[in-house]
Symmetry: C2
Subunit: 329 residues, 2 copies
């Protein structure tokens, strides 16, 4: 079975870990299951001259066994010597945590990018170490950066655009986002393999990642949405919204910015043109309209309390997909 | 008193610390003593994409109180988390020790250089933190790199050039240097302030730094040697060779490569065109020819066993200078 998944950060990574766990129990026809992950890169940021790819790293560390389990991002057993020294030099920003172990990843990435290697190859080189068990592709080798337009306190009626990470991490998304811009996305090309992986998959999965700044930006890369509309594979998504609130993260602030209600139904609406199946939490059972061209909906418990729970959700998503098409395995 | 000193790494840095210690006891005419240090940058190296300036950093850390006292280079209380992670990525080289604290310096430097800031300004920015008590100038803002030509074991009679740091650190200078090349030096311009500091000094000092790859490369920057020949200040050097051997480091291997004997007299000969005074160790008393145009020679104990001992050597160098000219202070 060839599975292609889009993914943001923590939620996507945990879902994918569950998926791999679940696939261990699914018989193959002799060829191993193949999972390709198309990772969001629009919240990448350059800090201290180092290129940081938070979502790719969260997927890589989570699937490779290096993640800080408690916080869901960054490395386990982390220290902050370099960050302390950078602060001693008066070098900002200091609101984005960079651990010593994590920094090595960014040093390697920055060097390879500086040598002209595209991000997709750099990511493959980093994964040579972590062996995440999936093929991890950035959505694009071209630079796309999500910027958030907020009110400018220094100019009445004025607004200013800040990097997504500044809004998300430094401001905790507590300042209203007036607009969310994926700068550079119109010119971005899908990374090599991305469109093929969507077109040639047996199943396409949308983990419970942020529908605006994770899944949304991947969908914004020219060609990706068309590939999802055109793929012969069933496309099944897992709602990131449970009972009217994001399971984690601050997706509600992002949805509000684009004028979309924070509900499982509204998020499904964002994917209406290609979504075949939609997995919602049991608490949202019956809240998503069905019938006609609308996706099939199934309700299961969506809290990924551990790997087994995430595996059960992934299994339910694959079950839903299998019911939508001829057998996929 | 305006003092300008050339400097390499450990020996130069310890001498300079002694000099500052000594100057604390020298009365001023109301304006504080000013020390300008012209640091060697020809053994700078790019590792993991980070620009490392070993000699500038050794001076900065030593005078700023951050040096690892035992080894004479790098930071005290150092850890190696980043280096361990880089090794886990299979990213070389692993023969050049980069501690976590030290790496922050290189991250800041690399970012500022990448923004187009010249090395002299970057160095000043780093010194804003360390407050070394001297004005630390790189010999040049242009890139100069010392390469060492060694026999190539893979090709009979063949030779290859390697970066100085590879020869010095990885090979411990144990492989004969057939030639030592300062790549880029003909095109290098002295950093802003370097020539003025030499011309307008009251005293110019040459600490006991490596005469080939530290002092020698600074002298190789076009204009520097002329400034030393033309300065009105007495130029006094401290021999890095004691009893026919380098006090520390492997200067003998460098001297052999350029066909110069490892002796206090032979090193003085390298500076013959501008040297006014030469401080040698008591064990070398009488071994350096004097008279005619030759520099005045004085013998004192040259082992910098502690800051006070280094201060006494610096004081002797200033005394020697004072005897060569009208009073300088």
């Amino acid at each position: 079975m060839r599975i292609t998944a889009l993914a943001g950060g923590i939620g996507g990574a945990r879902f994918l870990r569950g998926l791999l766990h679940h696939l261990d129990s699914v018989p193959t026809d002799g060829t191993p299951h193949e999972v390709t992950v198309v990772g969001n890169t629009a919240d990448d940021v350059t800090l201290h001259g180092l290129r940081v790819c938070p979502d790719l790293d969260t997927v890589m560390y989570t699937l490779g066994g290096g993640i800080h389990e408690g916080q869901g991002w960054g490395r386990e057993d982390e220290r902050f010597t370099v960050a302390e020294e950078l602060a001693a030099y008066g070098q900002g920003p200091d609101w984005f945590t960079l651990g010593d172990r994590d920094i090595a990843t960014h040093v390697v990435r920055t060097r390879l990018l500086g040598q002209g290697m595209p991000l997709s190859e750099v990511t493959a080189a980093l994964c040579d170490r972590w062996k995440p068990g999936v093929r991890l592709l950035p959505m694009s080798d071209d630079r796309v950066e999500t910027h958030v337009v907020v009110d400018d306190e220094d100019a009445e009626g004025g607004r200013r655009a800040i990097h997504f990470q500044e809004w998300w991490v430094r401001l905790h998304a507590a300042v209203p986002a007036r607009q969310i811009l994926a700068v550079g996305i119109e010119q971005a090309r899908p990374a090599p393999g991305v469109l093929e992986a969507l077109r040639e998959a047996d199943v396409v999965l949308l983990p419970p990642s942020n529908p605006v700044v994770s899944i949304g930006t991947i969908l914004g890369v020219p060609g990706v949405r068309d590939a999802l509309r055109g793929t012969r594979a069933p496309v099944v998504g897992v709602s990131p919204i449970v009972g009217g609130a994001p399971v984690r993260g601050m997706a509600d602030a992002c949805l509000t910015a684009i004028g979309v209600e924070t509900s499982a139904a509204a998020v499904a609406g964002l994917y209406a043109d290609f979504l075949d199946g939609w997995l919602v939490d049991t608490s949202d059972d019956g809240t998503v309209p069905t019938g006609g061209d609308r996706p099939a909906v199934r309700a299961v418990p969506l809290l990924m309390t551990d790997v087994a729970a995430a595996g059960a959700i992934a299994g339910a998503a694959l079950d839903l997909a299998a019911g939508l098409t001829s057998p996929v395995a």
